[in-house]
């Protein structure tokens, strides 16, 4: 089998799985500042799937592509620590506020810059939106087929890839020609851990934006000059030659009209103990009201 070129789409997301009460503003909107950020869980599964292919097909190259604010360079470093070969970052304020349509346009422009490629892998969905839309939308923009909800690559052949998909009520085994885009289901294997050696090698990797921030340690600048591989390339609107009307807020058809926090509605509650008398009384009431029986 010939070596493959794989691009993994990964996103840094607020950790919505641990939303504390302080993460909500009084008006019911989310206070993003209060949420820590994480590597989107499904995207880690996608990275593992890519690294697994690399294990099986020597010479395969795994490239991480992320879009986000300067801080999202964490994603590239994390990818390096776990075994990715290259990392690219799309970052520009003008990309901000994008919905899935604008995001997929932007990512597709980035992917085109990295062409040719055999596979695009990404998580099924991101936990900050749970939409699962960006993958299929990217595939459409690139005019390539898509395999959604993959949980295992069963076979890699010269001209086609065979994957098992996890559906709501079962599984499906499908084949596709290259290149194709695959979204990876959380039921696939967990991502391997960081490798100490790679952490040592890449922990000083920085983007130009990070290097030019005021409080950066001189050591980072020095090392990034000496070792070009530490430099994480960053692309802005001009680098991607992106149509300004199709990115960010302007390129996003969906807009949030209003947001309501969910308030539990209080009902008249009867408080009971676990005594026999209380429970028998309740059961009797339920029977009288024909709720049970």
């Amino acid at each position: 089998m010939r070596p493959l070129k794989i691009i993994v789409l990964a996103k840094q997301v607020p950790d919505t799985r641990h939303v504390g009460s302080d993460a909500m503003k009084p008006d019911g909107t989310v206070n993003r500042v209060k949420l820590s950020t994480v590597f989107n869980p499904d995207d880690l599964h996608a990275l593992e799937l890519a690294l697994n292919i690399k294990d099986r097909v020597p010479g395969t190259e795994v490239t991480i592509l992320t879009m986000g604010p300067p801080k999202a360079a964490d994603i590239i470093r994390e990818g390096y620590y776990r075994g990715a070969d290259k990392g690219f970052m799309i970052s520009d304020r003008r990309f901000g506020g994008a919905d899935t349509l604008a995001t997929s346009y932007t990512l597709a422009k980035g992917i085109e810059k990295l062409a040719p490629f055999d596979l695009i892998l990404g998580g099924r969905q991101a936990i900050d939106g749970d939409t699962a839309q960006v993958g299929p939308q990217c595939a459409e923009k690139l005019k390539i087929p898509q395999i959604t909800y993959a949980e295992e690559i069963l076979e890699l052949k010269e001209t086609e890839i065979i994957a098992r998909r996890r559906l709501e009520k079962g599984i499906e085994v499908v084949s596709s020609t290259y290149p194709c885009l695959i979204t990876v289901h959380g039921s696939s294997p967990e991502c391997r851990r960081r490798q100490a050696k790679k952490v040592m090698k890449y922990k000083y990797a920085r983007t130009q934006t990070e290097l030019s921030s005021r409080n950066i340690d001189e050591l980072f600048i020095k090392l990034n000059k000496e070792r070009p591989y530490l430099n994480i390339p960053e692309w802005n609107v001009e680098d991607l030659n992106a149509d300004i009307t199709r990115i960010g807020l302007a390129g996003s058809p969906t807009k949030v009209k209003s947001v309501n926090s969910i308030v539990l509605t209080a009902t008249e509650t009867k408080h009971l103990t676990d005594s026999d008398a209380d429970i028998e009384q309740m059961i009797k009431e339920l029977i009288i009201h024909h709720t049970i029986g």
Partner: protein, 339 residues
């Protein structure tokens, strides 16, 4: 007037439940807008699908009947939907938030270069004033969905790039017959004119779909357990109670994640939405992700060691105690008092 359009899923000649749910909701939108309700269905042996959808008030159905269209594959379905939607130019297009709909809808949104809101639980029609343009947009789709892990509900609108598209969560909209004698016009699509070889580069090699052994959606009584049940072993108490009462057993996401109960019995935002006559929540604290999927139950009993469990606010009866002791007592007194 431009129509409201529904992509209907079909398997073995039968329109999927989710699609009938969406048709029911879509008919209400179409009535508010005073426009037709149209549907499209692609699959094999579809001679009976018209009679399945008519009573939901479908004015016209577009049918593509070809053996290559079933089971669902993205590219051929997208190619046919594109032909129809470009020609009919509807104002709203709805899909199920299923493994089919969530695969196809985003591809369609990209093809048509329009907005798409995922996983809606409420659909409505309303206006919006755009300050920048000093313009009031009338009769927009309000696509309302839980966001941020279910802690908020967001109303998503789209006024400038049409059609307005949304996927709709399964089991949320109520199936409602509009008129048993409704007349539906049929247009058969000639797929050979649309499809080419490239639409079939993805091939299905194998397929195993399990008919689910649980039907939480239609259960009138549900006994659900959470992480507080403590073990798979303790779930037997819940099963016994459900058995005695003639109900089904469900679980919260935490109980599923802990391996106490199977995934297909999960209730809540990422599982099934239920609205039974009686919901007994045992050892469930009541995270919003869970309550979003059960708060419409007519009566709720919460059994919890923690008197402050958030779910207690929703409950009609709160029993503070250990479910391992409380549930056997409920069974005992039910048997004693029921006729």
């Amino acid at each position: 007037m431009k129509s409201v359009f529904v992509y209907c899923e079909v398997e073995n000649k039968k329109i999927a439940e989710i699609s009938l749910e969406i048709l029911s909701a879509a008919k209400k939108l179409a009535q508010k807008l005073g426009c037709p309700l149209e549907a499209m269905v692609f699959g094999e042996n579809l001679s009976e699908v018209k009679s399945q959808v008519s009573k939901y008030g479908v004015d016209k159905i577009y049918i593509a009947d070809d053996k290559r269209l079933e089971p669902f594959r993205t590219l051929p379905h997208a190619a046919i939907a594109k032909e129809i939607l470009k020609k009919q130019d509807p104002q709203i297009v709805l899909f199920g938030a299923t493994s089919v709909g969530r695969d196809l809808a985003p591809r369609m949104a990209s093809i048509l270069n329009c907005g798409l809101t995922a996983d809606c639980t409420i659909l409505d029609i309303g206006d919006h004033f755009v300050k920048k343009e000093k313009k009031e947009y009338k009769n927009l789709l309000y696509a309302i969905r839980p966001a941020f892990g279910g802690s908020i509900m967001a109303n998503i609108i789209n006024w400038d790039m049409h059609p307005q598209m949304a996927t709709v969560r399964e089991g949320v909209m109520k199936k409602e017959i509009f008129d048993v004698d409704y007349v539906t016009e049929v247009e058969n699509i000639n797929v050979d004119k649309i499809l080419n070889e490239e639409d079939f580069v993805v091939k299905i090699i194998e397929r195993h779909i399990e008919e689910s052994d649980v039907n939480l959606k239609d259960a009138t009584i549900i006994v659900a357990g959470g992480y507080g049940v403590g073990s798979e072993e303790n779930f037997k108490h819940l099963r016994e109670l459900a058995n005695v009462l003639g109900g089904e057993v469900g679980g919260s996401r935490a109980a599923v994640d802990a391996g106490y109960i199977k995934h297909n019995r999960q209730i809540g935002q990422t599982g099934t939405t239920v609205r039974p006559k009686l919901y007994i929540a045992a050892g469930i604290s009541g995270a919003i992700q869970h309550t979003a999927g059960m708060q419409d139950a007519s009566m709720i009993i919460s059994i919890n060691k923690d008197p402050e469990a958030p779910i207690n606010k929703l409950a009609d009866y709160v029993i503070t105690g250990d479910l391992v002791e409380v549930i056997p007592k409920m069974i005992k007194y039910y048997k004693k008092n029921a006729k």
